[in-house]
Amino acid sequence: MRLRSTSPHGATRLSTVTLAALCVIALSACGARVDAGSPGASSSAESCVDTSGDTVKIGFLNSLSGTMAISEQTVHDSLQLAAQEINADGGVLGKQLEIVSEDGQSEPTVFAEKAGKLITSDCVAAVFGGWTSASRKAMLPVFEAQDSLLFYPVQYEGLESSPNIFYTGATTNQQIVPALDYLAEQGTKSLFLVGSDYVFPRTANKIINAYAEAHDIEIVGEEYAPLGHTDFSTIVNKVKSADADAVFNTLNGDSNVAFFKEYNNAGISAHDMPVVSVSIAEEEVGGIGVENIEGQLTAWNYYQTVDSPANSAFVEAFKAEYGEDRPTSDPMEAAYTSLYLWKAMVEKAESFDVDDVTAAADGVTFDAPEGEVVVNGDNHHIAKTALIGKIGADGLIHTEWSSQEPIEPDPFLEGYDWADGLS
C-alpha cells in the first residue's frame, strides 16, 4: 500500500525535468534566432498582393457583431454598394474587385488581428473600415508595419496623420470648428459640454475650450458619462441649472437616446437651449425618436437631403439596394466616397502598389454625394464642406448653414492661432 502512494514521485520529477529541458530548448533556440535576425534585419514582410489576374482583392473590416454593429453595418452596406457600382462599371484598371469581408466584433484587438489577416493572409490591396478611434489606433501599427493601406470613413478627433491611412471623414477643423463658428455667429455666449467618456469627446472639448477662450464664450459646464450610460437625470439637472445658450453634445451611441428623452422630459426645448450634436446622423434619429430631437442641430459634411445629382444617384441606388426605409448618413457617404477615391488614386498611379498609390494621392478629386472632395497628399485627409443641419419632423436633417466651399483638412489645427499648445 505504501509503495503505491510513493511511486508517483518519480513521475513528478520526470515531468519537471522534461519541462525544464523543453524550456531551455525553446529559449536557446529563439535566442540564437534573435542574434541572427535582429540587427537591422527588421524589414516588414514583402507585399503579397496579387494583381496578375483579372481581379484584385480588397478588404472590408467593420464590426458586424457586438455593440458597434449598429453603426458599422451601415458603413459596410455602402461600401458594398460602391464596390458593386465600380465592378458594374468595369472595375479598377480593368480588374474586378473581389471583396474579403471581416468582422471586427466591436473589439480593438480583433480589428488588429483581422487587419493582419487581411493584409498577410488574404493579400488585399487596401482595407476599408474601422469606426471607433480605438479600432483605428489598434490597426494603425499593423498597417504601418506591413506597409498597407487603410481607408477610415468616420469623423474623428484629429491629431493623427499616418502615411498608411486615408481619413475620408471630417477632422476637427471640418466639423467642430465650423459648428463653433456657427454658434458664435448666432450670438452664443455660453456653452455646456456633454460627452461620453472617451477620446473623441475629451479631445473635442479641449478644442472647444480653447476656441471659447479666444472667442469670448463661457463654458458653464463639462460633463462626461461612461459609454453606455443610461441615466441622465443628474447630468440634465446640471445642464438645466447652468442655463447655457447652447449645449455641445459629443455623446456616443445609445447614450444619446437616454439623454434626449431626459432633456425633453425635463421640459427643455430646442428653442430654449439648442443642442449641437456631432455624433447623431440620420441613422440614429429613428432610434432616439423624432419627437425627442426635432429642431436640434447637428454638424456634419453630408446629409441625405444634400441637393446634388451625385447625391440623388447615391441615395436612389442605396434605397434600391437596401430598402426605401434606409436613410443615408455622413459616415456611409464617407465610406462610399473612400472606395471611389482609392479607385481614382489607383487609376492615377496606374498601379495597385501602396507606394505608387500614396505618391499619386495628392490632388485626386471625386464628385462625391456631399460635393467635390480633394485628397490632401500631405496629411491624407480630404477637403470637405461643413454643414450645420436641423433635424426635421420627417426624421431627416436639413442644412441650416454651410461653409460654402470645401475646408482644407488641418488635423493638428496648425492654422488656428487659438489652438496653439493644443497638440
Binding site: D197, E223, Y224, T230, S241, N265, G267, V290, E291
Partner: protein, 293 residues
C-alpha cells in the same frame, strides 16, 4: 433646490434599479438561480412595447397594453428557460450563471437579427411628456410614472407572497424544499410559477425603460450588473432589503455623480458596496438559518 432635484433623481434611479432587481430578488434571492438573461428578458419587454405600439399606434393605449403583455412575454421566456435548462440545475447555482449568460448572448443576437441592429423608438404618450412643476422643481412625468409603477409592483408582489396560497407555497419551497414536497406542495410547479413571476417583472421593467432610454439588443446588459448588486446588497430572500438597497444605490449614484462625475460615481458605488458587505456579508436583511452553510 439642487439637492431636492438630486434627491428626486436618486429616487427615480432607485425606482429603475428596483424594477430591474425585483424579479431577480425572486429568482436569485428566493431560488438561488443567477439568471444573467434577466437583462435580456427586460429587452424582450422593451421590444414588446415597440411591437405593440406598431400595432396599436396610440402611445397611451399601447403603453397600458404593453405592460401586462411585457409581463407575459418576459414570464413565458422565463418559463421556457426554467423548463428546458434551469430545472436540472438547482443544485448547481453557479453554473446557472454561465448557462443563462449563453442564453443572454443568443437572445441579444436574435433581437439583432429580428429587429435589426439600430435602436428602435417607442413614443411616450402625451400624458407622460413634459414635467410636473412643483415649487419651481420640474419632475419629469415619465419618471414619476416609473416611480409609481415600481411601488405598485413591490406592493403587489409583497401582497402576493404574503396573502395568496401561491405565495405561501413559494415561501415554503424556498425555506425547505424537501419538507414542502413532503407536505404535498409540488416544488416543480412552484418553481415554475416563481420563475414566471420573476421573469415577468423583468418584462414590465423593460416596458418601463422604453420611456427613459434606448431600445436595442443590448438594453439589458446596462442594467444586469447593477441589478445583481442591488440584490446582493439587499440580502437574500427579502423584498424589503431589495427596496432599501435599490433606493440607497440610486441616491448614492445621484449624489456622487453630482459632486464628481458619472464614471467616478460608478466606481465609488462599487467600493461602497464592497465595504458594506465587509460589515454585513449577508446583505442588509438576512434570514438566519441554522445550518452548516
Amino acid at each position: 433646490m439642487d439637492i431636492i432635484a438630486q434627491l428626486f433623481a436618486g429616487l427615480s434611479l432607485g425606482s429603475v434599479l428596483l424594477l430591474a432587481a425585483l424579479g431577480l430578488s425572486l429568482t436569485f434571492g428566493q431560488m438561488g438561480v443567477i439568471n444573467m438573461a434577466h437583462g435580456e428578458f427586460m429587452m424582450a419587454g422593451a421590444y414588446t412595447a415597440f411591437v405593440v405600439q406598431g400595432v396599436i399606434g396610440d402611445a397611451g393605449i399601447s403603453l397600458l397594453v404593453a405592460l401586462p403583455l411585457g409581463f407575459l412575454v418576459g414570464g413565458l421566456l422565463g418559463l421556457l428557460l426554467e423548463a428546458t435548462l434551469i430545472h436540472r440545475m438547482y443544485r448547481r447555482p453557479l453554473d446557472t450563471l454561465l448557462v443563462t449568460w449563453g442564453v443572454a448572448l443568443v437572445l441579444q443576437q436574435v433581437a439583432r437579427d429580428v429587429f435589426g441592429a439600430p435602436n428602435v423608438d417607442v413614443r411616450a404618450p402625451a400624458w407622460l411628456s413634459g414635467a410636473v412643476e412643483i415649487g419651481g422643481l420640474a419632475l419629469p412625468r415619465t419618471r414619476l410614472f416609473i416611480l409609481a409603477l415600481a411601488i405598485v409592483c413591490v406592493v403587489a408582489l409583497a401582497l402576493a407572497l404574503r396573502a395568496t396560497p401561491l405565495g405561501r407555497r413559494i415561501r415554503a419551497v424556498v425555506q425547505n424544499r424537501d419538507l414542502a414536497e413532503a407536505s404535498g406542495i409540488s416544488s416543480r410547479g412552484t418553481d415554475r410559477v416563481t420563475f414566471f413571476v420573476g421573469s415577468g417583472l423583468a418584462g414590465i421593467a423593460g416596458v418601463a425603460l422604453t420611456l427613459l432610454g434606448s431600445i436595442g439588443p443590448t438594453l439589458g446588459t446596462s442594467y444586469i450588473v447593477d441589478a445583481f448588486l442591488v440584490v446582493v446588497a439587499g440580502g437574500i430572500g427579502q423584498i424589503k432589503g431589495t427596496v432599501i438597497a435599490a433606493t440607497a444605490l440610486g441616491l448614492m449614484q445621484a449624489f456622487f455623480e453630482y459632486s464628481t462625475t458619472a464614471s467616478v460615481a460608478k466606481v465609488l458605488v462599487f467600493v461602497a458596496i464592497v465595504a458594506f458587505l465587509q460589515l454585513r456579508p449577508q446583505g442588509l436583511v438576512s434570514v438566519r438559518t441554522r445550518s452548516l452553510a
